[in-house]
Symmetry: C2
Subunit: 295 residues, 2 copies
């Protein structure tokens, strides 16, 4: 196994332990919604976002326990967005991470509530003293996460994406859509360590830029996988974009130029890390990985 | 107009002004989701929860601007819960506050996203400096709101409610269901002023008890309205509980005993206010109003 894969696996196991503790099943019939939350949040996934939190936190010597709770909260928000995006009224997907999506495994009502509760729990976790950060830092973590995931972030991006099925988008519009839909949360993951570590502005900014380029490279690679990879490799349905006639980086640029663009962004992401003294190797390898992955 | 109605109207107007500012429509196609958020959050309603925030804040001399932002955030959470509860997969309602529900006026996907974004925006607002409270107080407001609305609060209650359609509930189960589903957020509204005002524990506790009794009285009155009032009066569909064969306080106790119970709880709610020196008249009148209202 490569160094990156080993590190990803180790961090994923740590985050899963924290998620397991934070999503405790209550007594009573409402346990059903927590079962659905656990099904979706503990059901695998590459855990790229939590990994980015952990790596950026390490650049500033942030305590691991502190970073792990932020990583777990972020993963809850990511999982909530997957559950809601997969709903019949949205992207109507029944396969995710190689398993039935939440509304297929449970039912639609439970899936809606499980998403709602994961989002809510994420903010609760960040607000609590157990994050071992000052209240000021906790407020900033909450405010920035809300911005990245709300109407001017992830939700706004998903809204544009839904509306894109009935209107033609060009490269500038697709870039903006992806910056909101997937980019904002990836940028947040990269910046979380800087917030926790009260980083000086230039380092905060460097991580924001790294996250921005990484997020776009990640998305172009995702579009390529939708065209080139199999359902077995990705654990989700492929060929969806073409089927729905949706414009993507690949449909607009072609496979070759899209791949070039992703590689260029990956290099550019790494260049933003040059100003750090500490070891940024895993963040650099991550930037290569996101464009070369097969799942 | 009675003194309470005048006060309710005045506070509702102030909260609506703040909501209007906090839900600004962005440029671009994602404006659609904000239109839906505004449709649901600014579309009337009695604004009882924001009113409780404002009244409890006044007991501790909290600055109005501070309390108004908390009241607006709480109303966003209430409106998000209404939007999601009305969805076809949940209670499948098409009438709310005398108008089409969000998914009827827009579509299901937009309604899901509008609910998600209202919940997210609420936490963002509470985390921001403009709340004019210390970061410590803001973290407590966020943590308590998340507890009241998440898997062990409102969402948990809605989950039990959905499962109640297929199992028999008795008075203890219904009481617990309502404590989670509607009670927790009402208790939060009553306690918000105490949190903002850094109240001593005995006063915090008194407001919690007031909110607890008020919330239950409110719910019994709601069950009575579902049996006795018209769609014109309530602005929503009536007779739903009986139609679905769902156990309620009224189906279990009968109309007379349910009404007696609501009045008893209303009196008991007021008794918790006896320890306050400042004027608690409007909170007492509110406790009478919730059991005597026709809408």
């Amino acid at each position: 196994m490569t160094k990156l894969k080993l590190a990803l696996k180790a961090e994923a196991e740590s985050v899963d332990r924290v998620l397991d503790q934070l999503l405790e099943e209550p007594e009573g019939p409402e346990a059903q919604v927590v079962k659905a939350m656990r099904y979706s949040a503990l059901g695998g996934g590459k855990r790229i976002r939590p990994f980015l939190v952990m790596m950026s936190a390490r650049l500033f010597g942030v305590a691991e326990q502190s970073a792990l709770r932020v990583a777990a909260a972020l993963e809850m928000v990511h999982c909530y967005s997957l559950i809601h995006d997969d709903l019949p009224a949205m992207d109507d997907d029944d396969l995710r991470r190689g398993r039935a999506t939440c509304h297929i495994e449970f039912d639609e009502a439970t899936a809606i509530l499980a998403g709602d509760a994961l989002l809510t729990r994420a903010f609760e976790v960040l607000a609590e003293e157990e994050t071992h950060s000052s209240p000021q830092v906790r407020c900033e973590l909450i405010s920035e996460l809300a911005k990245a995931s709300g109407m001017n972030g992830m939700v706004g991006g998903q809204m544009i994406d839904l509306m894109a099925e009935t209107r033609e988008l060009g490269i500038p519009e697709i870039t903006r859509l992806q910056r909101l839909k997937t980019g904002a949360l990836i940028v947040y993951a990269c910046r979380a360590g800087a917030i926790l570590g009260k980083a000086e502005e230039v380092k905060n900014h460097a991580l924001r830029n790294y996250g921005h380029d990484l997020g776009l490279a990640f998305q172009i690679a995702d579009d390529l996988l939708d065209v080139e990879a199999s359902e077995e490799e990705t654990g989700k349905k492929v060929g969806k974009d073409a089927e729905r006639g949706k414009a993507t980086f690949v449909s607009l640029l072609g496979i070759e130029r899209a791949r070039e663009q992703a590689l260029m962004l990956s290099d550019q992401a790494c260049s933003h890390l040059d100003l750090f003294d500490r070891d940024t190797e895993l963040l650099r390898v991550m930037a290569k990985y996101v464009v070369n992955r097969r799942s």
